[in-house]
């Protein structure tokens, strides 16, 4: 029987894969940044759900601490990514990365 915890972890892996797919197929930078965030949420879900290893006993707090650290990192990274995206748009007129050989 698949227990609920395992199901949560699987959902986390699902989010991770969905995010990876979206990151690859979408050209618009905002979508790429959202995709990275969804991948991150997937990892966090895996961490939190796997912390609850023994049913009935309080879950392991260490992965929760890791997730909080991870969220802080994700927020800063997203802030930087959004700023960069706006700068790219104001310089080139579009929020996409053009496929061009570096010259």
């Amino acid at each position: 029987m698949i227990n609920t915890i395992f199901l949560y972890a699987l959902a986390g892996v699902g989010l991770f894969s969905l995010g990876l797919y979206a990151l690859i197929v979408h050209a618009h930078l905002l979508r790429k940044i959202l995709a990275i965030n969804i991948m991150g949420s997937g990892v966090f879900l895996v961490l939190v759900s796997l912390a609850d290893r023994t049913q009935g006993i309080a879950p392991d707090p260490v992965p929760h601490a890791m997730v909080i650290t991870g969220i802080v990192v994700a927020v800063s990274a997203t802030a930087l990514a959004l700023t960069l995206m706006l700068r790219v748009r104001s310089e080139t007129g579009q929020a996409e990365l053009l496929e061009e050989p570096p010259k």
């Binding site: 991770f16 990876l20 990151l23 930078l29 790429k32 940044i33 990275i36 991948m39 991150g40 997937g42 990892v43 895996v46 961490l47 796997l50 290893r53 392991d60 260490v62 992965p63 890791m66 650290t69 991870g70 990192v73 800063s76 990274a77 930087l80 990514a81 960069l84 995206m85 700068r87 790219v88 310089e91 080139t92 990365l97 053009l98 570096p102 010259k103």
Partner: protein, 480 residues
């Protein structure tokens, strides 16, 4: 003397650049002075730490007194100490160089970011657990991306954006691996994991994820596509930092995990890494030959030199690991000198088209000498640091009986020679279109030459460096 042995230098190495960064940000007019003071004090702290470690052996420091598995431990052995030393040496040289390179408007952004990057690098090399490595990896990535975007041009911004996405993607793969390892063993401490990890599906999934994530960040062929643009569109001191230190930091994590955490390495995976390394050497070398811009040529040369680092994986011998670690150190120094030289040439002529170098040999003789010396180390000619590293690597290859790697080693040396001489050749000819020259500050030229001479000198320091690598036996116990 007690001051040296009783101070917690490991904490100083993280706190000094952090305080330096904040100070440079707050008093942006004095950013250059503050940055230089910080750089010198970090170098002095590294020297003190070296003395401490030589006296007392490997060092473990529990931050806040918590200790593993709950707290964060810092750990120093030969591997991390040498990374700290090379970072400090390159760091001081780049600080001196940057003090003349940037105009005040840019300098006030550059210095805080560079100090944050330094703090991230130092804490990365000191980390003793795989989760802290993730955090420092992200800190390093964010600072590095901001530095790439510094020039503000459209191409630099696009390169920075791509670099950021790749860097975040790599980190998430790595973090997923951390999650799986923590689930399996209930700890993130490298030393504790080393005792417990056994071959199992969960561990192999974790290894796959972590190795993929790190390879993206190291830019091993064919995952190198983002590197040339990012490294070549950044300002020269930043290019030097990225090629010399940032890429190496990700490789350092891979090396640590491979040697300590991952169970008896999978033969197929190590051969795959060796094969990718060999492809990187050939592909990077050929691409470097075809480049028309100096900084892109040097960036492709980095793609190539990264390949060498992976030749040790299929050899899996102590001497092989030491050889590539030696190569890592000498490449860091030589590549710093090379990007600085390119920076001087760019500063002087306002462009870095190789065909239009316009008698740089007569006009910037110090810079061209430095470029040549760095080239000697990259080619692996005696008596440079690169020569000792490749000699050791050849010895490891012969001992392992896998002679085919030697062909790659020699072909790589020839390719390096070809692209270095291509640049030097054009430095003697007159350009068709004359450019308006701008005087290069003497400080920038002399520091470039100093670093280049150091790249050669590294060849004479082999006994000391190899002895330091044995400290704490990161590569395993030596038999003889």
């Amino acid at each position: 003397m007690n001051l040296i042995f009783d101070t917690h230098w490991v904490m100083m190495l993280i706190l000094l650049p952090l305080f330096g960064a904040v100070a440079c940000f707050l008093w942006s007019r004095q950013a250059v002075t503050l940055g230089l003071i910080t750089a010198v004090s970090v170098l002095l702290s590294v020297i003190a730490l070296t003395l401490q470690v030589l006296e007392q052996g490997t060092l473990r420091y529990a931050v806040g007194g918590w200790g593993a598995p709950l707290g964060i431990d810092l750990y120093v052995d030969g591997l991390s100490l040498l990374m700290l030393i090379v970072t400090a040496v390159v760091g001081v040289a780049i600080s001196v160089y940057s003090s003349a390179y940037f105009k005040p408007g840019k300098a006030k952004h550059y210095w805080p970011l560079w100090m944050f990057l330094w703090a991230a690098l130092n804490s990365l090399f000191l980390s003793a657990d795989i989760f802290n490595l993730y955090v420092t990896l992200e800190l390093m990535g964010l600072a590095a991306v901001a530095l790439v975007a510094l020039s503000g041009s459209a191409s630099a911004l696009a390169a920075a954006m791509r670099y950021l996405l790749i860097s975040l993607l790599g980190s998430l793969f790595y973090l997923m691996g951390v999650a799986l390892l923590y689930h399996a063993y209930g700890t993130v401490d490298i030393a504790l994991l080393a005792q417990q990890v056994e071959s199992s599906p969960a561990v192999w999934a974790a290894i796959g994820l972590m190795v993929t994530g790190l390879l993206l960040k190291i830019a091993l062929f064919p995952l190198h596509f983002w590197l040339p643009a990012a490294h070549s569109s950044a300002p020269a001191p930043v290019s030097a930092l990225l090629s010399a230190l940032v890429v190496k930091a990700s490789f350092y994590i891979l090396l640590r995990l491979w040697l300590d955490v991952f169970p008896e390495a999978n033969l197929a995976l190590s051969y795959l890494l060796g094969l990718l390394g060999a492809s990187a050497i050939i592909w990077g070398g050929i691409q470097a030959l075809y480049q028309t811009r100096l900084k892109l040529l040097i960036a492709y040369s980095t793609v190539m030199q990264i390949g060498y680092l992976f030749l040790a994986f299929p050899l899996a011998s102590i001497i092989g690991w030491k050889a590539v670690f030696y190569l890592l150190l000498s490449h860091a120094i030589a590549k710093t000198a090379m990007f600085m030289a390119a920076g001087n040439i760019l500063f002087y002529g306002g462009h870095d088209q190789i065909a239009d170098l316009d008698r740089v040999a007569q006009r910037l003789p110090i810079t061209l000498t430095a470029f040549g010396l760095a080239g000697i180390s990259l080619m692996g000619l005696p008596p440079s640091g690169g020569f000792i590293a490749k000699w050791l690597l050849l010895e490891a290859i012969i001992l392992s009986g896998q002679w085919w790697w030697a062909i790659i080693l020699i072909a790589g040396g020839l390719l390096t020679g070809a692209y270095v001489f291509k640049v030097i050749g054009f430095a003697f000819t007159q350009a068709e279109v004359p450019h308006e020259p701008r005087m290069v500050p003497k400080r920038m030229e002399w520091v470039t030459l100093t670093v280049a001479v150091l790249a050669i000198m590294l060849g004479f320091m082999a006994p000391q460096l190899l002895a330091l690598m044995d400290l704490g036996a990161p590569f395993g116990e030596t038999m003889s």
